[in-house]
């Protein structure tokens, strides 16, 4: 039987950022945490995270070791449950235009780490940090779940069990989802022996706090010799690479996409990393599209010529067949070329 993978839609950030909705979310969040004193408790609601900080309590909490690690974890789990319930009922009431009940914070988490945290000034143990990782249903038929890589809930618990900080790195789910076939893992991950499969797991991937993203899709996380690699685990899970295109022209870069239908469109941009005299986004457009027939199916690539310097290259990719979307950015260090016959440093 083919395994399926659930694709979770992210809510339209415009719905959440409306003054009415954000006020309702903030109010529900503050109430759940007992953080209604605005002069003391700072709350930040952003598309990529919700954060609370007790500005008087944090770093002035006293002796955190009055509480055990287990007690701190229990307080944190209880807090996460309370916040989740409050936001799924109270805040959702204000989101009249929403498609379905939004998951404003992760519906399910597992605690993975409990650490005492000290004050940098005094060295005394100030609070406990309880870190939890969200999970979502992967295959509804098989009843399997997968971690959401990049998402995390951090709760900071003071000596008396008070919540001193709460960070939910997460993007609200719209309430919609679709189920697609799970893609087979790559036959050979780079740098590994094809006779011995690389170690891997499946996780949903939440992009960075401000990166454009429209849904959560599953990926294979593969441990290879150098570090972790991503590989597509569904037709909607795109993996984008930016690399040098040719040895002859060091200013040519190419975008390579894996995991989709092969029929892609691109949009490039460039931000300066080394020259801040003008901090402007240079829009480079779609680049020169070429077809790579060495893959099955054939795949569109996009080639651009970049100016010499250090930049942050930005790229949006759309799969024209499926609507799959992926944003990618990469620091690029574009150099010129030497004259022919130049050679390297002293030999040894």
């Amino acid at each position: 039987m083919t395994s399926t993978a659930r694709i979770w839609a992210l809510a339209d950030p415009n719905l959440i950022s409306s003054p009415k909705a954000s006020a309702a979310i903030e109010q529900a969040f503050r109430t759940a945490l007992g953080a209604t004193d605005r002069s003391r408790h700072r709350v930040t609601i952003m598309p990529g995270f919700i954060e609370h900080e007790d500005t008087r309590g944090l770093w002035n909490a006293g002796d955190a070791t009055a509480l055990s690690a287990e007690q701190a974890r229990d307080y944190a789990v209880k807090t996460i449950t309370t916040v989740s319930k409050a936001l799924s009922t109270e805040a959702n009431k204000a989101l009249a235009n929403a498609i379905g009940p939004m998951q404003l914070v992760p519906p399910q988490v597992k605690p993975i780490d409990v650490l005492p945290i000290a004050s940098m000034q005094s060295g005394s143990w100030d609070h406990w940090l309880v870190r939890s990782r969200p999970q979502l249903t992967l295959d509804v038929t098989a009843g399997t779940y997968a971690d959401v890589f990049g998402a995390e809930v951090d709760v900071r618990i003071g000596p008396a069990g008070a919540v001193l900080g709460y960070l939910s790195r997460w993007r609200p789910l719209s309430g919609e989802h679709i189920d697609v076939d799970l893609s087979a893992p790559p036959a050979t991950a780079s740098n590994t022996d094809p006779n011995h499969p690389a170690q891997r797991t499946i996780a949903f991937v939440l992009e960075g706090e401000s990166a454009p993203q429209h849904y959560l899709a599953p990926y294979y996380l593969i441990a290879n010799g150098e570090d972790l690699e991503l590989a597509s685990a569904s037709p909607l899970s795109l993996v984008v690479h930016i690399t040098r295109y040719s040895s002859e022209d060091p200013t040519q870069y190419v975008a390579v996409v894996e995991g989709g239908s092969g029929d892609y469109r691109f949009d490039w941009g460039l931000l300066p990393l080394s020259d801040f005299t003008e901090i402007t986004l240079a829009h480079l457009g779609e680049g020169q599209t070429v077809t790579d027939r060495s893959t099955n199916p054939a795949s569109s690539l996009s080639v651009v010529t970049l100016p010499i310097g250090a930049h942050l290259a930005l790229l949006n990719v759309i799969d024209q067949q499926t609507g799959a979307f992926q944003h990618h950015s990469e620091q690029v260090y574009v150099a010129g070329s030497t004259s022919a016959g130049a050679s390297g440093g002293s030999s040894s």
Partner: protein, 506 residues
């Protein structure tokens, strides 16, 4: 006075001493830096600048070079006020028109129908002139004209310096490891320089020329630490705030045998697989540092020159007592600072060997020893030497310490700031400080640097690779990296017995 800065959009907060809105002394200093309440650094600053100059007569013969220290203070420099840089918010494409079909179509159909809008970067980055690089502070400095006019017939007449401390949001893009799967926020302590050429220089007289400009940083990282007491169990206090650091040199060629061994070993013992993977990834490693160190990070733009083999990156983490050390590769709660990626780790997509791989940073066409991998510096000024030191915090090296003169923290021979006493053991974690020096060289003839055929620019920016601050829990369920100490080719015993401060990656 101290200015307090915080940015809810990126989660960064820090303090900055000031004098009537201008940098207090010696340029911008950032203190008590945190990201989303995770401790990152006590103090980050540029100590000062060193100019190396020489007089060249009309036959091209240089005099003995002079080495001059300048700090970003009056009367050398006039500064602007501290400017706060706030990031522009990303927009979300309006999809109201698509909502009409909400009840009959799936969200993927709606995405497909709105593909033009979703594809365009302009839908998200609405303000093309907006600052999408991050949050930060900036100050600019103009050298007093007498700095150069006091020098006879100097080739430059002016110098402007820009200090920008830039902080990004948390994410895994742009990647800071070749595999691109590590969440982190970036900190870029950028320093930009620009010389003004002297239009009235007299060609028939000896000309004073700039041989190099050096920037010396002090980076007092302080990541959350959980030390044990001497008798085991949690220490009563996290003092003296023990942190650890490690130095790594990536492999430039894939050791296939090592990788096959790694895969095979995974069937016997995952820990063996981790160890073998690490061996394949690193040509040299000292994790954790056994003794204080002053080490080469790059020589004249090369990762190996003569008998010196350079390190590629440093990682920094809070000591965890009897708990596991950070994983390497991996390091999910650590500060990562890479100035070169080895060729073996470059991110050539699977099965796309036709692409040359990332050999950027240096001009293409360079071949030979030390030219492999990707150099993560401003390509306009790639001929630079990087040095890094890790030393215990010491009142005599504290720029705010009683009686400490700033110039004394920027020695003409940089490493001698540290090497006057024996290297201390820091293997169990210690209150340590990172020192980072980058010298941009302006070679004047091919005899000084044979590979140079692209001229160095008299303007550029240093520290563009930045520091990546990851603060997630270690990953579970996969064999990622190795959480044990790793030391090769020198083993722990030989490092300890040698007592050497200066240790390269050979």
């Amino acid at each position: 006075m101290t200015l307090n800065f915080s940015d809810p959009a990126t989660g960064w907060s820090f303090e900055c001493p000031d004098s009537s809105g201008k940098p207090y002394t010696g340029g911008l200093t950032l203190k008590n830096i945190r990201h989303h309440s995770n401790n990152f650094a006590r103090d980050i600053r540029l100590i000062g600048i060193r100019l190396r100059v020489s007089d060249f007569d009309n036959t091209g013969q240089p005099s003995i070079p002079k080495n001059v220290f300048v700090s970003l203070d009056p009367p050398n420099f006039k500064s602007t006020e501290i400017q706060e840089l706030r990031p522009s918010a990303l927009a979300a494409p309006q999809t109201a028109a698509e909502r009409a079909s909400l009840t009959t179509s799936s969200f993927m159909d709606r995405l497909k129908n709105a593909s033009d809008k979703l594809l365009s970067l302009g839908s998200y980055f609405k303000d093309a002139s907006g600052n999408y690089n991050g949050y930060g502070v900036r100050a600019d400095y103009t050298a007093d004209p007498t700095l150069f006019s006091q020098w006879p017939n100097c080739e430059v007449s002016g110098l402007t310096i820009g200090q920008t401390f830039l902080f990004s949001t948390y994410g895994m893009s742009p990647p800071h490891e070749p595999g691109s799967v590590l969440m982190a926020a970036r900190c870029h302590p950028l320093t930009t320089y620009k010389f003004t050429l002297n239009s009235s220089v007299q060609q028939w007289s000896p000309i004073r020329q700039i041989l190099s400009i050096r920037f010396d940083y002090r980076l007092y990282f302080a990541l959350d630490a959980v030390p044990n007491s001497p008798s085991g169990g949690l220490a009563q206090r996290a003092q003296p705030w023990p942190n650890n650091a490690g130095l790594f040199r990536d492999n430039d060629t894939l050791a296939v045998g090592s990788l096959l061994s790694a895969a095979a070993a995974s069937f016997v013992d995952p820990a063996l697989a981790s160890s073998a993977n690490s061996a394949a990834a690193f040509a040299a490693v000292e994790k954790q540092l056994i003794l204080e160190v002053a080490a080469p990070g790059q020589r004249l733009g090369l990762s190996k020159q003569g008998s010196v083999t350079c390190w590629d990156n440093i990682h920094w983490w809070g000591n965890r007592g009897s708990g596991p050390m950070i994983s390497a590769p991996g390091a999910f709660h650590a500060a990562h600072m890479h100035w070169r990626w080895g060729s073996a780790g470059s991110s050539i997509p699977h099965g796309r060997a036709a692409f040359p791989g990332d050999t950027s940073g240096r001009p293409s066409g360079l071949t030979g020893v030390g030219t492999g991998g990707s150099l993560l510096v401003d390509p306009r000024i790639w001929v630079q030497s990087i040095d890094v030191a890790v030393a215990k915090d010491d009142p005599s090296r504290d720029p705010e310490g009683y009686g400490v003169i700033r110039e004394s923290l920027s020695k003409e021979d940089w490493k001698t700031l540290f090497t006057s006493r024996a290297a201390a053991d820091i293997s169990a974690g210690a209150n340590i400080v990172c020192w980072y020096s980058v010298e941009v060289q302006f070679p004047r003839s091919s005899s000084q640097l044979p590979q140079l055929s692209v001229p160095q620019q008299l303007e550029g920016t240093v520290f563009v690779h930045g520091i990546f601050f990851a603060h997630n829990a270690e990953q579970t369920g996969l064999t990622i990296g190795d959480t044990r100490p790793q030391h090769w080719p020198r083993n722990e015993g030989s490092i300890r017995s040698s007592g050497q401060w200066v240790r390269d990656a050979s």
